[in-house]
Amino acid sequence: MANEEINQIEIRGVNKNFAIDKKSVDVLKDINLEFKRGEFVCIVGASGCGKSTLLRMLSGLEPVEQGEIVIGGEKVLAPSLKTGMVFQESRLFPWLSVEKNVEFGITRSKAKRSKPADKKKVVENLIQLVGLKGFEKAIPKQLSGGMQQRVSIARGLINNPEVLLLDEPFGALDAITKINMQNEILRIWESERKTMILVTHDIDEAVYLGDKVVVLSSRPGSVRKIINVDLPRERDRSSPEFAAVCSKIYKEFFKDAKIKEPEYYI
């Protein structure tokens, strides 16, 4: 797009409430955010703060009833191939091989029907990109959690979306696999240059990955603070600068003196 785009993604005045037992519960309150193309954004918040709901609204899975979300100049009304999504659970089809799972992601628009040969190439390249070469024929149950999530990332990227949404993608992985996957996603981000929006409750993860960390307050979720992480990559988790950013976010959380359940801040 040639037109000067200031922000690729704009979230304006978004509220969300769910009806639970006939009572309306506010989940998100007055969210206003702007993200630039190619940015890596992390959204952190306690469980139940509505961060996943916000991501689902960005994806078009959850309707935007109040306020609006604009991606690349278009209002989000339904899922679009411009946004890919990776969920916390890999959500692979257990009856399909790695290759077929990734290939399933291809949705042919009527305008550009891809030839089978191209299809194969695209799948091959993505499997290579996520580091699963040699596992094309394996089925999901033969893979570890981290590998399954790699397949899921490949599937999320297959339609060449402008934005990749990641909903706590490493939340279910063990600590070491998690660190590996964080480095993987950075590598993919650097090679593909997609806008990535990652939701997490892990502050360390957010600071390690994000250009920008959005801190959401507890229910109803509202934007408490936006922190720009200016640390050079590759970031050193043990450096005092890194720790300083983390502690800044921790402090944001603990401002709420009333809420002190530590499990929220893991």
Partner: protein, 253 residues
């Protein structure tokens, strides 16, 4: 897991306990402890079976039953799966059928036999229909629950990827409900097997059910036992075949 693991001695028990039972049976029956008109000895049953094999009598009844079951079961399966898919996919269809089916399903198939004979006569058609009904309900219900129980999380993936309805049905909903459909088929086969015998006992001139019934009238207890053994063995074999099929088809579980 360890507790369930069988040791070689356990296998010996599994194999030898029925054999021991046969020996006791033989002894009780031939030793004059019971009247052989009620309980013929296993050796006598085996001799009768061999005799029926060689004179073609067994084959006549056996093939009659098998053909009926095959046709009836196929009809029951195809209609059960079809209606199950439709009502699992479309709430409207389900709404129309739900009360009707709940009542019909509660009628034991055997209870329908007189009505079906009234309507369709005592020919092959009525038996095939009874067998079809006998297998239909469990296949229908399991298909339905498989379809409507498809993981919403997988369906969301399809929404994100903007898949059309046909792709969602063929590549997500159907494979996802396959385990449930196969469970239905397993129950359906045993239902078909039950109902063929019932139908043959009431209105038939051929078939294993008829053979057992007729043997009672003719005071041929050994023939009855042959029939019962065959029923058990075929029933077991059908179940094993479907289990094997399940393992092959549901390779991902």
């Amino acid at each position: 897991m360890d507790r369930n693991k069988r040791k070689p001695v356990d296998y010996l028990i599994i194999v030898f306990s029925p054999i021991l039972l046969l020996f006791i049976w033989q002894f009780v029956s031939e030793g004059g402890l019971v009247n052989t008109a009620f309980l013929p000895s296993p050796v006598k049953v085996l001799q009768t079976f061999i005799g029926m094999l060689s004179n073609g009598r067994f084959h006549e009844h056996f093939s009659a039953s098998i053909v009926r079951v095959s046709i009836g079961f196929c009809i029951g399966t195809v209609s059960g799966i079809t209606i199950g898919i439709l009502s699992g996919l479309f709430k409207k269809v389900d709404d129309v059928l739900t009360v009707l089916f709940s009542v019909l399903r509660s009628i034991p198939t055997i209870g329908l036999i007189p009505l079906i004979i009234l309507w369709l006569g005592i020919g092959e058609i009525s038996k095939v229909v009874i067998i079809a009904i006998g297998s239909f309900w469990s296949i229908l219900l399991n298909t339905q629950s498989g379809i409507s129980g498809t993981d919403v999380k997988l369906l969301e993936v399809a929404r994100i990827l903007q898949k059309d309805k046909l792709t969602v049905l063929g590549r997500i909903i159907l494979p996802a409900s396959l385990p449930s459909i196969i469970t239905g088929i397993r129950l359906g086969i045993s239902g078909a097997w039950r109902s063929v015998i019932a139908a043959e006992m009431i209105a038939s001139m051929r078939g294993i059910g008829y053979m057992i019934q007729y043997a009672r009238e003719m005071s041929q207890p050994a023939v009855m036992f042959v029939g019962l053994f065959i029923l058990g063995i075929i029933g077991l074999a059908l179940d094993l075949i479907v289990k094997l099929l399940e393992k092959k088809l549901i390779f991902w579980s």
